[in-house]
Amino acid sequence: MITNKKPRSSDTDSIYMKDDRTEMSEDDDRSPSPNSITHDSRPTRTYTTGSGPGTGPGSSSVPEYLAPCPDQVLENVLENVLLFLTSRKDRNAASLVCRSWYRVEALTRSDLFIGNCYAVSPKRATSRFTRIRSVTLKGRPRFADFNLMPPNWGAHLAPWVSAMALTYPWLEKVHLKRMSVTDDDLALLAESFSGFKELVLVCCDGFGTSGLAIVASRCRQLKVLDLIESEVSDDDVDWISYFPDTGTCLESLIFDCVECPIDFDALERLVANSPSLKKLRLNRHVSMGQLHRLMAQAPRLTHLGTGSFSPSEDVGQGEQGPDYVSAFAACKSIVCLSGFREIIPDYLPAINPVCANLTSLNFSYANVSAEHLKPIISNCHKLQIFWVLDSICDEGLQAVAATCKELRELRVFPFEAREDIEGPVSEVGLQAVSEGCRKLQSILYFCQRMTNAAVVAMSKNCPDLVVFRLCIMGRHRPDHVTGEPMDEGFGAIVMNCKKLTRLAVSGLLTDRAFAYIGKYGKIVRTLSVAFAGDSDMGLKYVLEGCPRLQKLEIRDSPFGDAALLSGLHHYYNMRFLWMSACNLSNQGCQQIAQALPRLVVEVIKHEDNLDMDENVDTLYMYRSLEGPRDDVPRFVSIL
């Protein structure tokens, strides 16, 4: 007989039904690439099988022969099949088939993805999934990055690492985003997991070089140590020197965000002792001369972050200096370049030898002009990912459009992040990119002025767009040619880009823009709104029209309680909703909290405004199996 009981709760699976991607910058549904998952190919249980009467010595743990019931055989077979399921979506679906499948799926899952660390407790997660090798945890909401939330809000790693230390002795990988990580957490991690291989910290804080030193010295199997846009305090510890002198298995070492100086000799030794090293991203304290020496030690690098890309203080006048061109020519495997933190543009041509092979180039910290860029970019025919500063101007973007026909992702950051300046890039650059880079999938574009026409053009020229994030830095700025709101442009994007899942809007927008989004944005999962809309209708359109919406972040827009209430049917399907400086009242939020008991409704106040009053400064709400968290700071009240 096959049992057919449904598992306890489909809520739990929706918590684990997360987006997946090997990089953390976007969320989407793509399955991870096979080599990012460790498969446990050993059978996870020993069952007695119907192999014949009697069992030989050592064949199984059960001394007697027990005829297995069909259920057990099924489960055994199922295990061996489910081992190969990698996509979270597939696994979550499989776990809903029946109790047996639920159990087996839990046993065979090796990657745990928790999109909101407060949606489920460490205990619950570690009880259900007992054989995890890789954990991904995300903490703070994204708007916290822009100072919209006081520090010490939460997202502490500590309870997670404590629980995992007990239940996952074979843990190999930890990927964290926007979590608070202390040195003690890192120490516990290093001590508890003897086979630990991979630590990736994106936008994290709370730790310092002493924590890094512990990881470096204790994690002897460490292959990946990636610190990305994290804040690392300088404890005056020379952490690089804590890696073992005898050699490491390091494949990736990314520390460009670490602002502390490092001991170069220790770094050089480390690189020399790390024969598997493929990815190396240096911080800005590494000079060009030092880079040159490191490149000589690691000619097989595929990903290089070049550090400061300027010479150290004393360079002989009239001397050539080291031959940087040859250094780059020798590194034939480089496909990804970044760094250039303090670039002196004269040195840029040194990278020419690798341009033809580059698939990813990050100039987003390099203050270079169009004139500097053009000779370089004209060789980058294979470029797929390009991050750059707007210092290259529309002219630079035109050069990109002319050459980079394979471009998939473009990010144009502002050199000066202000509202009241002229701005070097505009609709001209956007139009050019749309015409030249037809395969574009993801764009982030900061500008001071824009037109609907250019946005419409992009919607038609780039049908593969999955991510469209336009930030017109002047608040409420209309189409600067027609004076119209930007409704039509964004409308065209949701209408024409059938694959669009992530959208960020800006400029002058009426409720009409939201009507378009609600009508056409049927697969939009992430929406970011700032200084937009006229009335509650705007938010209503979105909440009623976008069934796939998972993450909604809104600031400074005139949406009130009525709009909030219109989303009651949907909030359990979302990861979170953020609304700050809108028109919400305590009463409205209270209604939501009462109607939806599995929602945690946090009202975050400014630290100097802790009186309860009717206006809600910031609402952050998310589904959770655990109810109110127990680490709430005093400026947060949970309704």
């Binding site: 203080e313 004393d314 670039i343 009426t510 400014h606 009717e614």
Partner: protein, 220 residues
């Protein structure tokens, strides 16, 4: 932080009208949408969290913390001000503090001194005026005995050991490849166009007349 932001808050009405036309439209023509918005959203908080945000200068969590908690004081001040004021807003544009911090210190130029065998590097973003830059150059090359003729004030910036001081004239190469005297253009414009600096011996500065606005080609 540049003083320009502060002064915008005190614009005259006439200036603010034309400013409004060219820069910010708070709503569709004819609507007082912007004002209505401010009334609606202002309870304890103003529509714009009006902290004078040192974009590009803020560097650590402490200062962020202060900014965040310092909001309400400036809120009260700014609610009395005209809503068209281009006040800075917390977290807008949405660029992470990390990236903003990395942008400061982004304009490095080589500094060459005639007769010295070594080049130095100077970050023009670190200074707010010619005087600061000259002082820094003075410090940078303090091992040499020299004075930099300060054409701005007709006053020589002297080093400590002044006995055998050789006078140097600071010049820079601009975007067009021309060598220019320091001080002729506004500081910001200079930062933008300067490609490299050279401290040329006064004795060689024949082709450069003091305070000449027109371009001179390099005597080398």
């Amino acid at each position: 932080m540049s003083p320009e932001d502060g002064s915008k808050l005190l614009e005259s009405d006439a200036a603010s009208v034309s400013f409004k036309e060219t820069e910010l439209t708070l709503g569709l023509p004819g609507e007082s949408r912007g004002l209505a918005l401010i009334e609606k959203t202002s309870g304890k908080r103003g529509f714009s969290e009006t902290v004078d945000l040192n974009l590009g200068r803020s560097s650590n969590v402490d200062s962020d913390h202060k900014k965040y908690s310092g909001e309400s004081e400036t809120d009260v001040q700014n609610m009395a001000k005209p809503p068209a004021a281009k006040a800075q807003v917390v977290g807008w544009p949405p660029v992470r503090a990390y990236r903003k911090n990395a942008m400061k210190g982004c304009k490095y130029v080589k500094v060459a001194v005639d007769g010295a065998p070594y080049l130095r590097k100077a970050d023009l973003e670190m200074y707010n005026s010619y005087q600061q830059l000259l002082n820094a150059l003075q410090d940078m090359f303090s091992c040499s005995n020299f004075t930099i003729r300060n054409y701005l004030n007709e006053r020589a910036v002297t080093s400590q050991e002044v006995n055998n001081g050789v006078e140097y004239v600071p010049i820079y190469e601009d975007k067009d490849g021309d060598w220019m005297m320091l001080g002729d253009v506004p500081w910001k414009m200079f930062v933008e166009s300067c490609k490299r600096l050279r401290l040329m011996k006064s004795s060689e500065a024949i082709g450069f007349a003091p305070r000449t606005p027109s371009k001179c080609s390099s005597s080398n």
